[in-house]
């Protein structure tokens, strides 16, 4: 079933309407701050657990498997290319409104990493799982996930 905007009111049921007057301020934290600062410099930073020979992207302060702490010396720049592992085309926004221009979200295995990276797939006419993709940068970089516009099929 497609998501629909909530607009139908049933007269037989009484409702109390409300919203939660809150918002959230998330610190990027230790590892994601390093990652964001890297993006600002047009670098994609991962980090590697030497024991498990496993590279995380985005980086983490710990290896989720052996639970070793991944310190400053574990970070490294990874290539700006990767493989398209999966994608989906988005037709509706969060509110259930149909988008004028659908867009692609993708899972990308960035080269020399062992995790999936989640971002937009852009400027790609005929996406195919297994195709090579390359990072496209935003000219106005502020240290956020939007410093990358997305990945483009090569």
């Amino acid at each position: 079933m497609l998501p629909t905007k909530r607009n139908a009111k049933h007269n037989s049921v009484r409702e109390v309407e409300g919203s939660f007057p809150i918002h959230f301020h998330y610190t990027a934290g230790i590892s994601t701050e390093k990652f964001f600062l890297g993006l600002k410099e047009k670098k994609i930073l991962g980090n590697t657990c030497a024991t498990c020979n496993f590279t995380y992207l985005p980086p983490k302060i710990f290896c989720e498997d052996c639970f070793a702490e991944l310190g400053n010396d574990t970070y490294k720049e990874v290539p700006q290319t990767g493989i398209l592992e999966s994608y989906t085309e988005i037709y509706y926004d969060f509110r259930g409104d149909k988008l004028e221009t659908p867009y692609f979200l993708a899972l990308i295995k960035v080269d020399e990493t062992d995790t999936m990276f989640y971002h937009k797939l852009i400027d790609t006419e005929n996406p195919k799982i297994g195709m090579k993709v390359s990072a496209i940068w935003n000219d106005d970089r502020k240290g956020s996930i939007h410093d990358l516009n997305g990945f483009k099929g090569i």
Binding site: V13, S19, P21, H25
Partner: protein, 166 residues
């Protein structure tokens, strides 16, 4: 033991370290359900309803659809008096959003007359113009209503409770 954690000032937290701010766009419409719909519709008519349990004979307020003790249906609605006693109260200078007010509002648990357990009633407000030395635990109070035109089936259809003079 060397304990870890990086303390931030409010300025560092909001403006210096990298962060993401998110405003959730969520609205809710809570169905008021069987018993509270009856209660709210009653308020619109200027009536305070409770319910009676046919199993344990308790009369309670606010009304519920089931008795939480017997776990049996509770469907006998009882019109209760519009009076009660202050079970407990506070002189509150802090609003919902943690901002302060100069004049206290007076939230109280009102133990409604005609119920058979104590306390049994609901959270409401005592008239905030009442001199504070008159507001006491166990003081008798009565409901003061909005006009019938203003009432919409909400807890605020009762404007507040007034202390009854002896």
């Amino acid at each position: 033991m060397e304990l870890r954690g990086t303390k931030l000032s409010n300025d560092e937290f909001l403006n210096k370290v990298l962060s993401v701010t998110y405003y959730p766009e969520l609205d809710y419409a809570w169905a008021t359900g069987v018993a509270i719909t009856k209660f709210l519709n009653g308020l619109k008519e200027g009536v305070i309803y409770g319910t009676k349990c046919n199993e344990c004979s308790r009369v309670v307020c606010p009304p519920r659809m089931f008795c939480e003790e017997c776990h049996t249906p509770m469907n006998e609605y009882v019109e209760l008096p519009q009076t009660g006693i202050i079970n407990t109260f506070s002189l509150a200078y802090i609003r919902t959003d943690a901002t302060r007010r100069d004049k206290a509002e007076i939230p109280a648990v009102i133990d409604i007359d005609g119920t058979t357990i104590s306390p049994s009633g609901f959270l409401h407000l005592i008239n905030e113009d009442t001199p504070h030395d008159k507001v006491k635990v166990n003081a008798k109070v009565k409901a003061v209503w909005k006009s019938p035109e203003e009432r919409k089936g909400d807890i605020t259809d009762i404007k507040y409770f007034d202390i009854m003079e002896d």
